[in-house]
């Protein structure tokens, strides 16, 4: 046992507290083993083992101890667990102890006791507020190579695990009449009155035991102890079927429309989650009404050395003593400006801990308190203050100045301080409500809570227990009534008397040593003064300049002190200075909880065609197209490179026959007496004149005149068209068409429905495609060239199943698309492959399809990139002059009609063996590569098996007039500069003879 461990003797009162002494637990901290009990937090167990030093501060690496007993803790941030579950920056004060827990202190090297980083404290004058803005400026070249890597290494406190998270998370959506936020006295009273009215109630509390401060203080309600009353109240609530009690659940955000976000720590207190249980659960709660009963947070006092381990909040000392049976020290002093903290002295003495002195900053103190202290033999001084503390890593002495100006040193190892209480209104400000200063309460309160929310209890500035019970009860009843419930009258529990008067002093002016305001970000009173001197006097600027309140604790204990200091320095009143507002989350939320089920392959849904299983059996390689999986190519055994496979597929399709699953393209049934007139409105070309049984290629523009999507529309009846869209734009086009139907032209008789999933659709392409279809369909349909010419469509029954056949071609080959209802899609593709076997049928994927359409100069998504017009794409003549259509007017803007705009051309590498890459920009030969000389860009490239070299499509200024010219395809990102010849975009079969085969 090391010499330093002599002070770490276990401390635990023999009885009392809400811990279970029959269930001891083992845990480790910085590698050493310790014991605690079921019911302990990590912080209470550490204190119970006499451990005071738990971390090193962020900037100055000052030794730090446990300050509070709640989620507002700024100091005791530990790294919890190891391996894949390691989590940094966890507040030891809220960690529920479990057997086998491992914790490490943070931000220190090589150890907590001997931390090299403490040198920062010596250099502290250079690390004052705002130093980030003033240093690391010069030389500019050092930033990326020297400063940033150094800052990154120094940044942060703990380390996240680089391994994958082994736990699952889930989301849950809940609806209720009344959401009660906070399970302390006010919250329990509110939940009881609302619950008994029969309303649907949800009560959330961040702790694993309900009761809030009732479990930390020695109070009485209705003759029983406060914690017993809380326990009975929670049992009553658990028994009500219309009430859901969520323990270990923090409401972290208030959102519009009565929506609340909460995170439930389902398994944080277990070594491993139980089977099928998530680690954490994200709740999205929609509540008709809410009661905010989040209590108040005790403020510290700003004086020299106030951050030394052993200096703690007075209410936290009571909590450790009363709830956990842990005296936080052996010899105590109290430093306060409010009545409340005197109870800490009485409780400590009552448990056998000597209290040396109560130092009260007020000159006038309630005589009942001074008399009681006197009876108990506790020395008290009024109008006095603590100037500074001493002790290297834990408190040894305090230096006290009394009203007469005399200074003396007192030996204590525990200083319990209280600067008063701040109503915990963070959640109420998430929607922008700003609290206003109340002189009577010496605190900020909320005058206008968000819609549907009432504030009750200490959160409202009502600090007396009797008031919190009454307000909670009334708020719960009112909320239940407003939500439609029927409230019954019932008697209120009686609370004992108490003293609550308080006077804020904020800070001790005479302190010479560092006086901390924001513990987690190491912001001192000097930093506040510096900010004021440099002109950052508004609380919003103060916050950003000094980083006060920007740490993970969001300044819960420190904001008000900082604002008060700024007010005093600049001679303003608190009501003038105001306070900052908070944003969600109230406390940190794990990304896993926000993701829930949606991670890894489940990040987004996967959409599969009916032919997917068959494609898998054929060994397809798949590609994501939006949510869909599409077969990209079908490698044969022995084919080791995708280019080999794809080129083979193209040759086989153009040579014989191939089949491709095109089910993913959007299909929309457009029906109604005005269906044709409607399509005239949305396409640039005419569709009302399309004969029944014909298909036409169409282009749709956006309102601003740029091309949105292309596709075909087929007409099966006077009042029935089927519109096709690209895969990627199916949803967007549907929204666009519904907008045209419902907003632009609501008088038209037209109905739209997506049938993308209804039809499995296969493209059969190649010289033998008609032969195959004849074998497949038999007598079901006449598919001769006269019966079904190019761009024709027919409906028929095949094997007692409705089917459609479209003669369209993206590949430029003789081609058809066969559509069957999707439940027959699997059987159809198999039948097709069987029927085509002797004809040499092969499956082909999206890559081969892409190669063939590029060979034919057909535009696709690469060219329909949202920046091109119909004219740019060589389709300007499609735009009808006889009718109005969406985008017509703005497409005529001079900037969009400018012939200088990059227009569609084809390219071939000047040296035919060279490779082409999409994305390259066009430059004239010899031109300097800069924006001024940029002439356009390459949109699509492919290796053409028919031409046996690379080809591409692109957009270049004055494109069609420059056929034959040589330019450069310049790609500085990948270091390429290739000379290319501008050619017609139709590389193969320019006469289109194969189409009509």
């Amino acid at each position: 046992m090391s010499a330093a461990a002599s002070y770490m003797k276990p401390r635990r009162l023999p009885k009392g507290g809400l811990i279970d002494r029959s269930r001891p637990l083992n845990f480790t901290f910085d590698g050493e083993r310790y014991h605690g009990y079921a019911g302990d937090t990590l912080a209470s167990a550490l204190l119970g083992n006499g451990i005071k030093l738990v971390g090193r501060s962020f900037k100055y690496h000052r030794p730090r101890g446990i300050l509070t007993a709640g989620s507002e803790e700024p100091n005791a941030l530990v790294e919890l667990r190891s391996g894949a579950r390691r989590e940094p920056n966890t507040r030891a004060t809220i960690v529920e102890l479990f057997d086998g827990l491992e914790a490490q202190s943070q931000n220190r090297w090589p150890s907590l006791k001997f931390d090299v980083g403490a040198v920062n404290s010596v250099l502290s004058p250079f690390f004052a507020a705002g130093f980030y803005y003033k240093t690391f400026m010069w030389p500019a070249s050092f930033w990326e190579r020297v400063y940033e890597p150094a800052i990154r290494r120094a940044a942060g406190l703990g380390r996240a695990s680089p391994e994958a998270d082994p736990d699952i998370y889930e989301k849950l959506y809940a609806f209720c009449d009344v959401l009660v936020i906070g399970g302390g006295a006010a919250g329990l009273a509110a939940a009881l009155s609302a619950g008994r009215s029969g309303a649907r109630v949800i009560l959330c509390d961040e702790d694993y035991v309900l009761g809030g401060r009732l479990n930390g203080d020695n109070r009485e309600i209705g003759g029983e102890s406060g914690s017993a009353w809380a326990h009975h109240a929670s049992l009553s609530l658990d028994a009500l079927s219309n009430v859901r009690v969520l323990r270990r659940t923090t409401v972290f955000g208030v959102y519009d429309g009565g929506t609340y976000g909460a995170v439930e720590r389902v398994s944080d207190h277990l070594l491993v989650p139980a089977s099928h249980q998530p680690r954490q659960r994200l709740w999205k709660i929609v509540a008709k009404r809410a009661v905010l009963a989040t209590g108040a947070i005790e403020r510290h006092i700003v004086f020299g050395g106030n951050d030394r381990p052993g200096v703690m909040m007075a209410s936290a000392v009571r909590t450790y003593l009363n709830r956990f049976a842990v005296p936080a020290g052996r010899r105590a002093a109290i430093f306060t400006g409010c009545d409340d903290a005197w109870a800490t002295a009485f409780d400590l003495l009552g448990s056998g801990i000597p209290v040396e002195i109560i130092i009260d900053m007020r000159t006038e103190i309630d005589s009942r308190l001074t008399e009681k202290a006197s009876r108990l033999g506790i020395r008290t001084v009024a109008g006095a203050r603590v100037l500074t503390t001493r002790g290297s890593q834990d408190l040894k002495t305090i230096s006290v100045r009394t009203a007469d100006g005399q200074t003396s040193d007192i030996e204590v190892d525990l200083l319990a301080m209280s600067g008063g209480w701040t109503p915990n209104l963070a959640l109420a400000t998430h929607l922008g409500s700003r609290p206003s200063w109340s002189d009577t309460l010496a605190g900020f309160v909320l005058n206008t809570p968000p819609r549907g929310m009432t504030v009750a209890g200490a959160a409202q500035g009502s600090f007396a227990l009797a008031d919190t019970l009454r307000e909670g009860d009334a708020a719960g009843a009112a909320a239940a009534e407003a939500a439609g419930g029927a409230v019954q009258n019932h008697p209120l529990p009686q609370a004992d008397d108490e003293h609550i008067s308080s006077k804020p002093f904020w800070y001790v002016a005479e302190s010479r040593s560092k006086a901390f305001v924001d513990f987690q970000h190491d912001v001192t009173s000097n930093d506040i003064a510096l900010a004021a001197r440099e002109g950052f006097q508004s609380v919003e600027l103060l916050k950003r300049y000094t980083t006060l309140g920007m740490a993970t604790d969001q300044g819960k204990t420190s904001n008000i002190n900082g604002h008060a200091l700024m007010a005093q320095i600049t001679g303003r009143r608190m009501s003038q200075v105001g306070t900052t507002v908070f944003r969600p989350p109230y406390t940190p939320v794990a990304i896993g909880a926000l993701a829930g089920h949606h991670r890894g392959p489940a990040f987004k849904p996967t959409r599969l065609t009916a032919g997917h299983r068959w494609a898998e059996e054929c060994g397809a390689t798949f590609v994501e197209a939006g949510q869909w999986l599409r077969a990209q190519w079908f490698a044969r055994p022995g084919e080791t490179h995708w280019l080999t496979t794809v080129s083979r597929e193209v040759r086989e399709v153009r040579g014989k026959i191939g089949v491709c699953d095109v089910s993913t393209l959007g299909k929309i049934d457009v029906q109604g007496n005005d269906a044709g007139a409607f399509l005239d409105r949305v396409y640039v070309n005419m569709f009302s004149t399309l004969p029944i049984g014909k298909v036409r290629y169409g282009l749709m523009l956006r309102e601003d005149g740029l091309v949105m999507d292309d596709g075909t529309a087929a007409r099966f009846a006077a009042d029935h068209y089927v519109v096709s869209t690209t895969t990627a734009n199916a949803g967007k086009v549907m929204q666009h068409l519904e907008h045209a139907r419902q907003v632009l032209r609501p008088e038209l008789d037209v109905q739209l429905v997506s049938v993308t999933e209804q039809w499995s659709q296969y493209s059969i392409a190649g010289p033998h495609s008609r032969l195959l279809l004849a074998r497949l369909l038999g007598d079901a349909a006449d598919i001769s060239d006269t019966a079904l010419p190019y761009l024709g469509c027919i409906e028929f029954s095949w094997c007692n199943v409705p089917a459609r056949l479209f003669r369209v071609s993206f590949s430029g080959e003789l081609a058809y698309e066969l559509a069957v209802p999707a439940q027959f899609g699997d059987a159809t593709i198999r039948a097709m492959m069987e029927a085509g076997r002797e004809l040499g049928i092969v499956p082909y994927g999206t890559e081969a399809l892409g190669v063939m359409r590029i060979e034919k100069g057909h535009v696709a998504s690469n060219e329909l990139n949202g920046m091109t017009t119909a004219t740019d794409l060589g389709l300007g003549r499609m735009m009808s002059r006889k009718k109005d259509f969406i985008g017509r007017v703005l497409a005529m803007r001079p900037g969009l009609a400018d012939p200088e705009r990059p227009a569609l051309i084809g390219i071939k590498p000047a040296a035919r063996t060279a490779r082409l890459h999409a994305g390259a920009h066009f430059l004239a030969v010899g031109a300097k590569p800069n924006m001024g000389n940029d002439q356009g860009y390459v949109t699509s490239v492919a290796f053409s098996p028919m031409l046996e070299h690379w080809i591409g499509l692109g957009l270049i200024k004055n494109g069609p007039a420059r056929i034959g010219e040589i330019v450069r395809a310049y790609d500085p990102v990948r270091n390429r500069d290739t000379e290319v010849e501008i050619v017609s975009p139709i590389f193969f079969d320019p006469e289109g003879t194969r189409l009509h085969g």
Binding site: Y255, D256, G257, G258, T259, V286, L431, G432, R451, E703, D704, G731, M734, Q735, E738, H739, R741, Q742, V743, L744, P746, D884, R888, V889, L890, M892, R893
Partner: protein, 87 residues
């Protein structure tokens, strides 16, 4: 944010797509149509207060809705069918 769809009832905003101002587009005939349409598409008022939005309930009944919303507080005052009440 929650929007009360006149068909589906109150729903989370994630079911909807926001389009923008519900102000009607000008007619596409007439001498000044290019400028009028340009202003309608590109230049929009941004009032602080009640505003008429167009939203699309794509995650629900696929109705286009005119929604009255306070741009400062996101309070929603009501939503009606853009196409008019169904007969």
């Amino acid at each position: 944010m929650r929007i009360e769809c006149p068909f589906c009832g109150p729903r989370d905003a994630s079911e909807f797509a926001y389009y923008g101002d519900a102000k009607r587009r000008p007619e596409t005939s007439g001498s000044d149509v290019s400028r009028q349409l340009y202003e309608a598409v590109y230049l929009r008022d941004n009032p602080a207060g009640r505003h008429e939005d167009l939203w699309y309930h794509g995650g629900g009944c696929r109705s286009w809705l005119r929604v009255t919303r306070d741009t400062r507080t996101h309070e929603i005052f009501g939503a009606t069918f853009a196409a008019g009440e169904p007969s």
